[in-house]
């Protein structure tokens, strides 16, 4: 069964997941992003690569931040952007997901940026447009359930490459609610593909999914042991609703054991960088002194994110 995100000749037709992407292709995306970084600091922040193309932001789950970064990336490539907040339109009227897609394809959409609460939803959409429309329509997964957030994974890799250069010498720790985190899954696939020899995940067993070892990770329940001598720390956002359902007793206890403080950060290598996909819960998963400290590269991630999303969009359009 061919991967639905690759065309017959192995080009990226959709970006649905990082799992299975060749290492060279990931580096190619990051290299392309590097070229776009300059565009974002020019007076005229625009290139005409997507001129005349229509990008539909299809957000079945609210996310102002991610939607905005895709919107900025698309407009800097000169695309026309349509934002659809499906929560408040078709779905509420009972229209099925694929009917919505068919209608938008009939309006000559060139690209869908999809955020959905269900793992795998962008696959369903991509397979549907592959079946009904062939090559012309592209799908970017902007986060599906707990499964994947590939552009976030790529911008995280861009950030790590920017600060650390060589992936094959790194020790990376991912801390927090891995169970519910699409970012963690995308980061893990990217890190193992890029040759990081030691990917650690740190969290209480209630927040760690099964199968982490098979994904190439080492599991730590003790944050102090897990952070020892790491080069990169990726903190995950803790959703407040996790306090229900017996996953965690309280935010205070979580912060005490799994919150990143200066004291715990000192266990990592002195030049370790601290990342977070945002939005941060200060005082829950990260202390302000760390979030605003010299080792945090959280705002750089945001800047790189625009360039990475421009790179992905331009490569998808070029593949057609």
């Amino acid at each position: 069964m061919p991967h639905p995100q690759l065309s017959a000749n192995g080009e990226l037709k959709h970006l649905l997941t990082i799992e299975g992407l060749p290492r060279a292709l990931i580096h190619h995306i990051l290299d392309t992003a590097k070229g776009f970084l300059g565009v974002n600091t020019r007076d005229v922040k625009k290139v005409p690569l997507l001129r005349g193309k229509s990008v539909f932001n299809l957000f079945f789950e609210n996310s102002t931040r991610t939607r905005t970064t895709f919107e900025i990336a698309a407009t800097r490539l000169s695309a026309d952007v349509v934002n659809l907040n499906i929560n408040t339109s078709s779905a509420a009227k009972g229209e099925s997901l694929l009917d919505t897609i068919d209608n938008l394809v009939a309006m000559y959409a060139d690209m869908f940026v999809v955020r959905h609460a269900s793992s795998g939803a962008p696959f369903l959409i991509a397979e549907h447009v592959n079946r009904t429309r062939g090559e012309g329509v592209h799908v970017i997964n902007a986060g599906d359930g707990r499964h994947a957030h590939p552009t976030q994974g790529l911008l995280d890799m861009y950030t790590i490459r920017h600060f650390k250069k060589d992936f094959t010498q790194l020790r990376v720790a991912i801390v927090g609610d891995v169970l519910h985190s699409r970012v963690a899954r995308s980061d893990i696939h990217a890190l193992t593909t890029l040759g990081v020899p030691e990917v650690r995940v740190i969290g209480p067993l209630t927040l760690l999914p099964s199968g982490l070892e098979q994904m190439g990770c080492q599991v730590y329940t003790d944050m102090k042991k897990g952070l020892k001598d790491v080069d990169v720390i990726i903190m995950l956002r803790l959703q407040h609703e996790r306090m229900r359902g017996a996953l965690l007793p309280s935010a205070q206890e979580y912060f005490k054991n799994y919150g990143l403080t200066q004291e715990k950060l000192a266990l990592a290598k002195p030049d370790a960088i601290v990342m977070h996909p945002g939005p941060m819960n200060r005082g829950v998963e990260i202390e302000s002194a760390v979030a605003d400290g010299p080792q945090a590269v959280i705002l750089e991630q945001v800047t790189f994110g625009i360039a990475v999303r421009m790179a992905v969009m331009s490569l998808l359009v070029a593949s057609a």
Partner: protein, 436 residues
């Protein structure tokens, strides 16, 4: 009508000596008169057939007995109708079938059962043996009027996919069923441990970000069921076993002498969690496809008899409910027409005698149901399934007769296909001359 079936390979439980049925596999003639098997092997003196069929290219088996086929009536006629699904059963060679009570409304009142039986009789197709609801509305709160329902035609009482939360109600249901000698049909699954789960808890679900149904959901439920059975002496049929650990508990329960039987859904003999691939909603079934070692254990348990029977777990689902992201898609697949070929596939891959495999589709499930069927014997009703074991066919919209077109085998080729179905001596389906 008097029919002679000549030269067919007679397979499965056959009674030749007039005493007991033994597994049989040999080309043997059959003679049928007045809806019954008149003779096996030797032509009775003075027999003159109205119809002679040369079946030398085919296998003959007792009509298949399916322990779980959702017919979707009453209440879900948009998914399937009694007409469409009873026809699909005949296409699949099934002549007796049991339907779970999860209709809308559930089969918790005698009138509903009588109406269903009446409608089924009118179709003159397979014999229908409904399961009544164990509790009112399948809510797990109040036990149903089991005696009334049994009088209306229920052969047992089940809970389908609806799970128990209140263990005391389950205890009461067992005590009550035991009082009348009824069998309870229970799918072992702990409500709390499986809540929200859509895939087997393991590496695949972890990687795909799907909520898991742990094996523990099955084993914890089994521990409870077996404790209550031991205390009450109730008879329980376990529906849709799914895990190696669960089968170990079942094996022990049998050793302990509990009155327990069990079935497995035919697709669980083949598919595992990895087959979910890229979130294929056709792979969403309940219980979920588990790991390879679970699949292998199911195959072995079926062969050894720890699991009694194979069922189709036929669950027609319409497009609107299936063409959705994996976790939102309705669980279930169409199985009536795949039951035989997928059983043949198990037999061939596990190197099991065809007669033994057919036994798991005929005599064994008939024993679970407590009905007189599933055996070819002189004087027994002539319910037969005549199949071509070599016929290769594609599973697609034109080959499937069920209104539910969703199955993990969609677009795939299967080998072996029912070609003629006989119910009480009447040929109700005949495709002998045609291959796809």
């Amino acid at each position: 009508m008097r029919i002679s079936l000549k030269g067919g390979r007679l397979l499965g439980p056959v009674m030749l000596d007039g005493v007991s049925a033994k597994l049989h596999d040999a080309h043997t003639d059959l003679y049928i008169a007045d809806g019954k098997i008149l003779a096996i092997g030797k032509e009775p003196l003075g027999f003159s057939a109205d119809l002679n069929l040369d079946l030398s290219q085919f296998c003959i088996a007792p009509g298949l007995v399916d322990l779980a086929a959702r017919l979707r009536e009453p209440g879900f006629e948009y998914k399937a109708t009694l007409e469409s699904e009873m026809q699909a059963a005949l296409e699949g060679g099934i002549t007796s079938l049991s339907c779970p009570p999860d209709t809308d409304p559930p089969l918790d009142e005698p009138g509903l059962v009588e109406m269903l039986k009446h409608r089924a009789r009118g179709l003159q197709a397979a014999s229908l043996y409904p399961l009544g609801a164990m509790t009112v509305g399948l809510k797990g709160e109040v036990i149903t009027e089991m005696a009334e329902l049994a009088e209306a035609g229920c052969i047992g009482f089940g809970h389908a996919g609806a799970m128990f939360t209140d263990t005391q109600v389950l205890l009461r249901a067992m005590q009550y069923a035991k009082s009348f000698g009824y069998t309870l049909w229970i799918q072992p699954c702990d409500y709390f441990l499986s809540r929200g789960g859509v895939a087997h808890s393991g590496a695949v679900a972890g990687r795909l970000g799907l909520s898991g149904v742990p094996v523990m959901a099955e084993t914890v439920a089994l521990h409870t069921i077996f404790e209550l059975m031991a205390a009450t002496g109730a008879r329980v049929h376990l529906c849709r076993m799914s895990s190696a650990a669960g089968l170990e508990l079942l094996k022990q329960a049998r050793k302990d002498g509990l009155a327990v039987s069990a079935d497995v859904a035919v697709h669980h003999l083949h598919l595992i969690d990895i087959d979910i691939g890229y979130f294929d909603p056709n792979m969403r079934v309940d219980p979920p496809f588990r790991a390879q070692r679970d699949r292998d254990a199911l195959r072995a348990a079926l062969q050894s008899g720890v699991v009694d029977a194979i069922c189709s777990d036929h669950t027609p689902v319409d497009d609107d409910e299936k063409q959705l992201p994996f976790a939102e898609a309705a669980a279930g697949s169409s199985g009536l027409e795949l039951l035989l070929p997928l059983t043949l596939k198990w037999a061939s891959e596990s190197r099991i005698d065809l007669a033994h495999a057919i036994d798991r589709l005929t005599r064994q499930p008939a024993t679970v149901l407590g009905i007189d069927a599933g055996v070819i014997a002189p004087g027994a009703a002539a319910d037969l399934c005549v199949f071509d074991p070599e016929d290769r066919w594609l599973v697609n919209a034109s080959s499937l007769h069920s209104q539910g077109k969703h199955t993990p085998y969609w677009g795939r080729e299967l080998v072996g296909r029912n070609r003629l179905t006989m119910v009480a001596g009447r040929i109700v389906l005949n495709h002998l001359g045609t291959r796809q």
